[in-house]
């Protein structure tokens, strides 16, 4: 089973855990709704769309409201530290959380106490904390975009906000940034780098690229990285090996984008609705 840890951009959303369902443009956990138009709800909605196609159980969510003060993230961290050792998931995906190295390390320790180690995927704020902790190599997959990859490649930056200029200037040279991220042990075992061209990489370097279908307007659309991580998480927990899941996820996300004929003002909920069709097409071609 897939579990996803993330926050909801609503200060009144309580700490809620359990099976997550999707109805229309809202996800629900413990009866609490959250619109899927951005962030972790977009990731969860994309994952659910894929899990439905693949006939898999719905994902488990660890969710809390947080608008950047870190209060919801800390409630989640505390809950995970107390409950993860008794839990069992095949895949665990971490998403929008306040980066906090101390809490990250406690959560990682708690995961080490699980009976079976899940496949670990980190994106967004938790990926930042994983890199800063120096324990990035403990993860199976990171899903950075070009700006975040530059941050992973900068061994001194504790957050993308501090990525040094001479490295940011290199963000068109993705293979070099990947090499540098691995050189300093700041990358997970696999990277799926999201961008105009998607790159799948491991320590030895780039293993695959995906560049079609290509829609330039996907870059400004908020949430397209979240949907990619959601699709990837669903495929990994459904038994696809990590490289193939990354390849299929990148294709599916691109096809779903193409299906809505996007413009820079397209909202990600429109793309999520087309994921089942896109996944079908991607599976046919693979």
């Amino acid at each position: 089973m897939l579990a996803v840890v993330g926050t909801i951009p609503n200060p009144d959303f309580p700490l809620a855990t359990g099976e997550v369902t999707l109805k229309g443009e809202h996800i629900y956990v413990e009866g609490h709704p959250a619109p899927v138009n951005r962030g972790t709800p977009a990731l969860m909605a994309a994952a659910i769309k894929c899990l439905e196609v693949l006939g898999q159980p719905m994902p488990y969510g660890y969710l809390a409201g947080d608008i950047g003060l870190g209060d919801g993230s800390r409630r989640l961290y505390d809950h995970l530290v107390r409950h993860l050792p008794q839990s069992e998931f095949s895949t665990l995906t971490f998403h929008y959380l306040q980066p906090d190295v101390d809490w990250h390390n406690k959560v990682l320790f708690a995961m080490g106490q699980m009976r079976r180690r899940p496949i670990l995927i980190a994106d967004a704020g938790f990926m930042y904390a994983a890199k800063m902790s120096g324990l990035a190599a403990d993860y199976d997959l990171f899903t950075p975009d070009a700006g975040e990859l530059a941050f992973l490649a900068d061994e001194e930056a504790p957050h993308p906000f501090y990525t040094r200029g001479f490295i940011l200037h290199e963000d068109h040279n993705i293979p070099e940034l990947i090499r540098r991220a691995y050189e300093h042990r700041n990358a997970a075992r696999r990277l799926l780098v999201k961008g105009r061209i998607d790159y799948i990489a491991r320590t030895e370097g780039v293993v695959a690229t995906i560049d079609s279908p290509s829609e330039e307007a996907m870059e400004p659309i908020g949430g397209t990285g979240d949907t990619l991580t959601g699709i990837l998480s669903a495929l990994v927990c459904s038994g696809f090996d990590v490289d193939r899941a990354a390849l299929l996820a990148a294709r599916t996300n691109r096809i779903a984008g193409r299906l809505v004929s996007p413009t820079p003002m397209t909202q990600v909920a429109e793309i999520i609705a087309r994921i089942p069709e896109a996944l079908g097409q991607a599976l046919e071609k693979s």
Binding site: T7, I8, P9, N10, N37, R38, G39, T40, D66, I67, G68, L69, G70, G72, S73, Y96, L97, Q98, P99, D100, V101, D102, H104, D123, A124, G125, F126, M127, Y128, A129, M132, D145, G147, E148, F151, E156, A157, P158, H159, P160, F161, Y162, T163, R164, G165, L168, H169, E216, A217, E219, P220, I221, G222, G223, T224, G225, T263, P264, M265, Q267
Partner: protein
Amino acid sequence: MLKFLKKKAESPAAAVRGVETGILVFENTSEVIRAENTLKAGGWSIRVKGPPPEIRTGCDLVIEFPLIEELAVLRELEKVGLQPLQTVPVTSPLLQPVDLFHVKDFGRFLMVRAANMKLTLDKQTSLLVNVSGGGCPDIPYLAQEMVGRKLDDAPQPREIGHTLCGYALQLAYEEIKRRCSPS
């Protein structure tokens, strides 16, 4: 009494370049942003920087200021109810926030990226149409509050954001505003 020290008119940036600087450490980034607004409005020559490694937690900003002005700075902050957790002399170079912008013109739409944050504007309608990137939890919240609003009516990230990603989005916002304001 210390007023003569505080004004930046005489030697603007030079004041914080020497060795006599300190940093103000706050509970969270929201307080840093409030302190920055307060001190800049008061005319102090201060800069927002990254903290030294020994006090980093993961999503931090500090304010670098001329150490000799400590008392006056603390007094100014106290007036608005702000109290730094600590004041630390700077003994090694601090991290510089990103200052590079990537701009992409889609014709009708303009996208500006600062660090890991992208903000896109519809030039015809002045509506903010998308916020993309980022990893801190205020980004989905900022997107929710800003997207669909006119550039001049939307809340600024520095008003309702709380994290470094929010701060980066503010830089993108300012750059888009600079590019789209009538000169």
